[in-house]
């Protein structure tokens, strides 16, 4: 593209963090998403953080209605959406007021000047126009009358002024696309496809985008054009993926790999609903989606489908998991495959529906009545959701158990470039069903005993429809072997132990230190879930400054890797950053008797690399003052 060829001579930055902020109705998520896609197509590495209010349309212009999208693009491998933006685009006074504190000192602030009038200022709680005094002196302020320039650009198209106003986010996108030398074509193509059949909307959005682009070129912003060049990613075919889409595709892949039809029982809940949306599109893959009357019906129907031989899945967030608790216990007792996906959000109760948190770990591990062991796996990045969904299905189907898959709002909505796997490299999932009798009584009579276990402690599953193997199962305690109702104390104790042992015995891969770790540091950072990016980023900074820290990240939280205890005990200190008050750290201390310390954050936002870097540095300093490690041994 000629424009990009020109831009390649622009001064290069190694990375930039941009935050688009505006009213919920301003289309900031879309703007951020388009900027991200164009950057992905251009070859940058990137990470995103969409942040939006729980209200669909909070009162326009208010602080409550501010919606923001942060994107970090770079010419090298990055792991987080960035600690603080270098550029803040504020589409109205409320966005300026709520998000200015995130901007780095001296950062670039681009505002839509047209919105800085009395009414909007008052709604945002300003008693004066911050653009007119010294409030913003510490930033590079660029004031652009985006609304009026957009209306001017659309004037000759026959678009009503009110409709033209709605295209101003494309003006902002055009301007930022020029400033950061983003390719134009992907956005033009996207506008054509997205608004197909609405010619006026297409014309208005393109006119607004072009006006923004031209503004950068012709106004006095000429010296401000820079480029963030493509990152040297490993060769392959890439797509930009968010966690919920990757997770949905992983479930489809698991269905293909196992040969079982995918059945999703779900009830809409933020931030998991997009999985229901995505899977509802994939009927070509034989996917059945069932939007149930409630969370309990959703898991109940998934159990029913699983009993019938489908890959049964239910997707939800924390409040939904709480409701599904009893049904999950049933699946544990029936020893049926089932995947429960928990896209965690801030809690308890309704909590922070659109904000991220990872405080459901102990509920996933222990949140059912009785001794009710369940494998738990957690995704670490948006694209990892694909692999972890397949892993959850593998454990569920090969070991005939419900499995909890933990993701969170940050992974669900955040996106990153994903090097697509070769379908032929994906591991097959082996599923076995009983076809014949498995027990001969004293009189030579042959029977099917649904709880006559094999060497792996797996029970045989006979699907309904299999001639001769009719049998009954239920949530009441079953006699080991025959599966008949049994209240025998010895039998119950045996069954409790068997259920525990068979889950504990599921083989999971050994824990492996993350890249950059040398295995010889004093301090090990143990993470799980979406903290991976921030911990990895912090590790790089600490090592770049001469510090030594190792990092291990757990996908399998139950059972845990067999080598984990030995690994933990080989460090003087273990630090466990979590988006909760210290849940994994409790488990590690209880299971392995190690000096693991928590690092907590519960603000509805992911860790920044800086926060973890700070905690690691402090802990290293503390350990350094006590080089012999007497204090901690």
């Amino acid at each position: 593209m000629t424009d990009i060829a020109e831009a390649l001579s622009a001064p290069a930055l190694d990375e930039v963090i941009i935050r688009f902020a505006g009213d919920s109705g301003d289309g900031m998520q879309l703007t951020g998403d388009r900027f991200t896609s164009a950057s992905a197509m251009f070859g940058n590495d990137l990470a995103t953080l969409p942040e939006y209010p729980a209200e669909i349309r909070a009162p326009a212009g208010t602080l409550a209605g501010v919606s923001a999208f942060q994107v970090h693009i770079s010419d090298h491998d990055i792991t987080t959406p960035g600690d603080a933006p270098d550029v803040l685009v504020a589409m109205n006074p409320a966005a300026l007021k709520s998000d200015l504190h995130t901007l780095v000192p001296g950062g670039t602030l681009i505002v839509n000047k047209d919105t800085f009038e009395e009414r909007n200022l008052a709604k945002a709680g300003y008693d004066h126009d911050p653009l007119e005094d010294e409030d913003l002196a510490g930033y590079r302020l660029i004031e652009v009358p985006m609304t009026s320039l957009t209306k001017d650009a659309c004037a000759d198209l026959g678009v009503k002024p009110r409709d033209a106003d709605r295209s101003k986010n494309f003006f902002a996108l055009g301007l930022l696309s020029w400033m950061y030398s983003r390719p134009v074509e992907p956005t033009m193509d996207w506008i054509d496809a997205k608004f197909a059949g609405k010619d006026l909307v297409i014309a208005a959005n393109k006119a607004a985008f072009n006006a923004g682009h031209a503004y950068g070129e012709t106004a006095e912003l000429g010296s401000q054009r820079v480029i963030v060049k493509a990152a040297p990613l490993q060769p392959g075919t890439y797509t930009n993926i968010n966690g919920n889409t990757a997770l949905s595709w992983g479930l489809v892949a698991a269905s293909q790999l196992s040969g079982l039809p995918l059945y999703l029982g779900s009830y809409p809940i933020t931030p998991a609903t997009d999985i229901l949306h995505e899977l509802s599109k994939h009927k070509a893959f034989g996917v059945t989606t069932f939007q149930a009357e409630d969370e309990i019906a959703a898991v109940g129907a998934a159990i029913g489908a699983s009993y019938g031989g489908s890959l049964g899945v239910t997707t939800t967030s924390g409040p939904g998991v709480a409701l599904k608790g009893e049904a999950m216990g049933l699946a544990v007792s029936l020893e049926l495959p089932l995947i429960i996906v928990d896209i965690q959000r801030g809690g308890p109760s309704t909590g922070l529906p659109t904000k991220t948190e990872a405080a459901d770990l102990l509920m996933a591990l222990y949140g059912r009545h009785g001794e009710s062991p369940m494998p738990v796996v957690a995704a670490r990045t948006p694209s990892d959701c694909f692999d972890v969904a397949i892993e959850a299905a593998r454990i569920a189907l090969e070991y005939q158990t419900p499995v909890m898959l933990l993701s969170d709002g940050y992974l669900a909505n955040g996106s990153e470039p994903w090097c697509l796997p070769e379908v032929s490299d994906l591991p097959a999932i082996e599923v076995e069903y009983a076809t014949g009798f498995n027990m001969v009584d004293e009189d030579g009579g042959e029977h099917f005993w649904p709880f006559q276990r094999d060497g792996d402690l797996k029970r045989p599953i006979a699907l309904p429809g299999t001639p001769g193997l009719m049998h009954r199962i239920g949530g009441i305690e079953k006699a080991d072997g025959s599966g008949n109702v049994s209240y025998d104390p010895e039998n119950h104790e045996r069954m409790v132990h068997l259920r525990d042992q068979r889950i504990a015995a599921i083989p999971v891969p050994d824990a492996v230190l993350e890249e950059g770790s040398d295995g010889d540091a004093d301090l090990l950072v143990v993470g799980w879930g979406s903290t991976w990016g921030a911990i990895a980023g912090a590790g790089r900074r600490v090592r770049a400054a001469g510090g030594r820290v190792d990092h291990v990240h757990l996908t399998h939280l139950n059972p845990m890797p067999a080598n984990l205890g030995e690994m933990l005990r080989s460090y003087r200190r273990v630090l466990v950053p979590e988006l909760n008050l210290g849940q994994l750290v409790k488990v590690l201390r209880a299971e392995y008797l190690v000096d693991a310390r928590p690092l907590s954050k519960v603000k509805g936002q992911p860790f920044t690399a800086g926060e973890i870097e700070h905690a690691v540095s402090e802990m290293l300093a503390e350990l350094g003052e006590d080089p012999d490690g007497e204090e901690s041994r």
Binding site: A40, M41, G43, A230, P235, G236, T237, Y238, T239, N240, T245, W249, V252, S255, Q256, L257, G259, L260, Y263, H282, K283, A284, F285, G286, T288, A292, E293, D294, A297, G300, A301, A302, I303, G304, A305, G308, G309, S310, E326, A327, G329, L330, L420, P421, V423, S424, L426, P427, A428, P464, G465, P467, G468, L469, M470, R472, I473, G474, G475, V485
Partner: protein, 351 residues
């Protein structure tokens, strides 16, 4: 290397040919029945075990799903597939199974507490969707397994362990609830009449979609005789109003009483007084459920003449097969999905 393209074995309904001849013994499991001696559940079990050979059903294609309660033990006694699930959730589990496996006959068994209290939401939605289920609600107007608390069908004023000075709330009428959910098949029978039970169950079995049957059932331990005033042999003629499609609704030993329609709903009349031409002719197939609903309100308590039989039976698209048809239509239009194409369905770029 994995063979990913192998077709998924979505179950479809195939004609297996006539089912082998069976007897009651073939449908009885080897488990000792553990209801209280004299419980009405025994006669329901017997009626069904005797009926199954006549239906031409296959044991391996038959699944009983239940929740919690005395009635919910039912699956253990049928030599079929069966799952004893958790309180109230049987219709939900059965919905998933029926959707995934249209080749199966799925029966749902539960009591009034199971299906109208804790599981009321699942029941009304299964009926609304018209999932292919045969739902038998054993109504004894009491909680039996927890030893005698009032249920959502207990009469107002009822004295129980949890309502020692009388129940304050009004009961649900299960037939009215089912009709309110616009169930496509709604019927009532009782545990004292095997023949009537069997004919009602047969109709439910043959119905495409959700078939709801209320079975008036005696709990001889905690609510003994609650239906005796209408179901005992010597009072039945005068107290049970048998609904028969296409026939005037008459009852009484001499068929001297009838049901007539009035602006305020249906009422019981003396046939000699009003004339046979004013007696309502029962029509199960009226799509508007209003008349059936009015019939369901005829008996206010089990002490007044009570209609039994099929209140409503209409054809409407079955849920699971309609969902499966959407999948087949999409596959016919675009072919079966290809995973590699799915992964490349968003914009991609090469590095």
């Amino acid at each position: 290397m994995t063979d990913v393209a192998s077709p998924l074995h979505h179950a479809t309904v195939v004609d297996d040919g006539p089912a082998p001849e069976t007897t009651r013994a073939d449908w009885s499991s080897d488990q000792e029945v553990r209801w209280c001696p004299g419980c009405g559940d025994y006669s329901i079990l017997t009626a069904l075990q005797l009926l199954m050979p006549e239906l031409g059903a296959r044991r391996e294609k038959t699944v009983f799903i239940s929740g919690i309660g005395c009635a919910a033990r039912f699956p253990y006694y049928m030599n079929t597939y069966g799952v004893h699930t958790i309180h109230g959730r049987a219709p939900a589990v059965a919905t998933g199974l029926a959707m995934a496996r249209p080749d199966l006959d799925v029966w749902v068994i539960g009591g009034d507490g199971d299906m109208l209290s804790i599981g009321g939401n699942h029941l009304i939605h299964a009926l609304r969707r018209n999932v292919n289920l045969n739902v038998l609600l054993f109504n004894n107007q009491i909680y039996g397994l927890t030893k005698g608390q009032f249920s959502p069908t207990s009469q107002k004023g009822k004295v129980t362990k949890s309502s020692p000075v009388g129940l304050v709330a009004r009961p649900f009428n299960p037939i009215s609830v089912a009709l309110g959910a616009e169930a496509t098949f709604v019927a009532r029978t009782h545990d004292m009449d095997r023949h009537h039970m069997q004919e009602t169950f047969r109709r439910a079995y043959e119905h495409e979609g959700a078939a709801f049957v209320e079975v008036l059932q005696n709990c001889n331990v905690f609510n003994d005789g609650v239906f005796a005033s209408i179901t005992k042999k010597d009072v039945r003629d005068d107290m049970l109003i048998e609904l028969e499609h296409g026939k005037p609704i008459l009852f009484g030993s001499e068929k001297q009483y009838g049901v007539s329609r009035r602006p305020e709903g249906v009422v019981i009349v003396d046939v000699a007084e009003v004339g046979i031409e004013y007696i309502l002719v029962h029509d199960e197939g009226i799509r508007n459920p209003s008349t059936a609903f009015s019939l369901s309100r005829l008996a206010k308590t089990p002490a007044t003449p009570t209609p039994i039989g099929v209140f409503r039976a209409i054809d409407r698209g079955e849920f699971g097969s309609s969902v499966a048809a959407q999948i087949r239509e999409v596959q016919a239009q675009v072919g079966r999905g290809d995973l590699a194409d799915l992964l490349r369905s968003q914009p991609t770029w090469e590095v």
